[in-house]
Amino acid sequence: MTNELEGQTRQDMLRRMLEIRISEEQIQELFLQNLIRGTTHLCIGQEACSIGVAWALQKGDTMTCTYRGHGHALALGMPIKDMMAEMMGKESGCCSGKGGSMHMTDASIGLLGANAIVGAQLPIAVGAALTSQVKKQGSVAISFFGDGATNIGTFHEALNLAAIWQLPVVFCCENNMYGEYSAQHRTTPVTDLAIRADSYNIPGEVVDGQDVETVYEAAKKAVDRARSGDGPTLLEFKTYRYRGHSRTDTGPYRPEGELDQWLQRDPIDILKEKMIADNQLDDTEFNEMKQATERLVHSAIEWAKEEPFPPTEALFADVYYEG
């Protein structure tokens, strides 16, 4: 199977990865300026995972992900404005300000929720896949989670149930080598988490999470498999988060030079270089794309800053569905 997508697709992926990268950089600023409260979890360095998977999906497919879900939301097509407004708790945010940084959710694009409880989103995706199977919708559900999440009970229960019911769901583990401040080997006795698929008799595959085209190919295979009724797959994307776990964490627990090594395999650079090699892009075009994206992100932020907070009555709205 070729590892090369046509030029236009590459362009779109590259632009979207830039949107994620630049948005995340700005989100860090907004957090430091206290325009975003509580906490933020950035996915800078992991952009290829959400983009590669999103590009393998169709309309009607669904996804659950984590508090580190800004990239996933943008990858699925959430407008930057909706995300930035949500970050600041504004009424025009994707969750009307109620969710915040950890809960980017947009039913209209199939994003069924970013979850702040580690592992809780896996069974929820299994349920979405159940709907697809029962209603013969032909849609596929994706659940994103981290390496640390593979040690919690819901991971085990969700994969087992999905396997026994042969549901159309793809479990996507972004192994960024750390769960909070703990390196994988300190909490997890296996190196390749993909082997945990064997406990459920489903395919498990280790995938280079830095090359968006590799991610896409692996996701496409798993998604097609699910769509055609052959059941779930566990994909492990080897990746890395450049920033700390959250908030102001700088990652002091990471060995000297580890980050630098990963910077050599930056997902944006990798795709960019390929495109340049294939005469699909040159530096000027890239810089224009980057500047355009920066303008887009900044205007979204400036717009969001001016948006109103929800009225206090909203407090009691939507605890229950009325009617």
Binding site: P123, A128, L130, L161, D318
Partner: protein, 324 residues
């Protein structure tokens, strides 16, 4: 009128909703091929087939989480957690996910799911298989909680719960499964959140549910012999709570006894007592008494289990106290 047991009423409600709405699915541990460990759901698998009526692995977190995911994508799932004692096993999915999902998303989702469990003591199942789950579930705004005490309510409230567009937890009482009653053939899906005065009385109000309701009614009959007229309210629904029916009764009797099949601490009876102490305080002529398990747990040994659960004698004693 059709005579049926509480057990049969639950099964009929499930069958009627599965028939009425193709989006209704039902799953849980051994609920399909085996018809349930309490033999509540026989025949559903045979009638509605393996797509819609499913057995699951022993995975309470996956069962409840899958119900949530299915509910927000177009199904109307009914999930069974065999014993209400397993609510804590799936507590995160129930209180942090199911109850909050609509709210956190800013109202993007409707969550039309139902979870059923058998609860309650009196059957020698021991400490981990005899509990009631109301107080655990009521801590989480976003999920409704109903507690049928009769076959008619078991049928109507379950159908109402399945039709409800919010998450509903239906707690069935193990001790009532064999209770028989003539169920009016006109009974359909019932509105949730309405209490019922099961017995009128002018002297004391008793608020109770399920097994404790039946014991309270028995106590009321005995007390009537000595001229004490007890009004007995069956809550039927813990969330939403029917405050008016409770307050109207207190306004009339000026006395309140709450009978809970659970420990005292953080029990739901506290909410009823606090309602009386707030909006009903000027009507109260006597202390508000709570008859419950106090600080006891349910033990296996028959005399201990019997001692832990409020019984007719203890209810009578409490009523006498507030009449004194």
């Amino acid at each position: 009128m059709t005579e049926m047991t509480y057990r049969e009423a639950v099964c009929k409600a499930l069958a009627d909703e599965l028939r009425a709405d193709p989006d209704v699915v039902f799953f849980g541990e051994d609920v399909a091929e085996a018809g349930g460990v309490f033999k509540v759901t026989p025949g559903l698998y045979e009638e509605f087939g393996p797509e819609r009526v499913r057995d699951t692995p022993i995975s309470e977190q996956a069962i409840t989480g899958a119900a949530l995911g299915a509910a927000i994508t177009g199904l109307r799932p009914v999930a069974e957690l065999m014993f209400a004692d397993f609510v804590p096993v799936a507590m995160d999915q129930i209180v942090n996910q199911i109850a909050k999902y609509r709210y956190m998303s800013g109202g993007q989702f409707v969550v039309p799911l139902t979870i059923r469990s058998a609860q309650g003591g009196g059957n020698g199942f021991g400490t981990q298989h005899s509990q009631c789950a109301e107080s655990w579930l009521m801590t989480a705004p976003g999920i409704m909680v109903v507690v049928p005490a009769t076959p008619t309510d078991a049928y109507g409230l379950l159908r109402g719960a399945i039709r409800e567009n919010n998450p509903v937890y239906v707690l069935e009482h193990k001790g009532l499964y064999n209770l028989k009653e003539d169920v009016p053939d006109s009974t359909g899906p019932m509105e949730l959140g309405k209490a019922l005065v099961r017995r009128e009385g002018s002297d004391v109000t008793i608020v109770a549910t399920q097994l404790m309701l039946h014991r309270s009614l028995e106590a009321a009959e005995k007390l009537a012999e000595e001229g004490i007229e007890v009004e007995v309210i069956d809550l039927r629904s813990m969330v939403p709570l029917d405050k008016d029916t409770i307050l109207d009764s207190i306004a009339k009797t000026n006395r309140l006894v709450v009978v809970e099949e659970s420990p005292h601490s953080a029990g739901w009876g506290g909410d009823i007592a606090s309602l009386a102490a707030d909006e009903g305080v000027y009507w109260l002529d006597a202390p508000v008494k709570r008859v419950n398990m106090g600080e006891a747990l349910i033990a296996y040994s028959p005399p201990l289990e019997d001692g832990a659960l409020p019984n007719v004698e203890r209810i009578i004693h409490a009523v006498r106290e507030v009449m004194a």
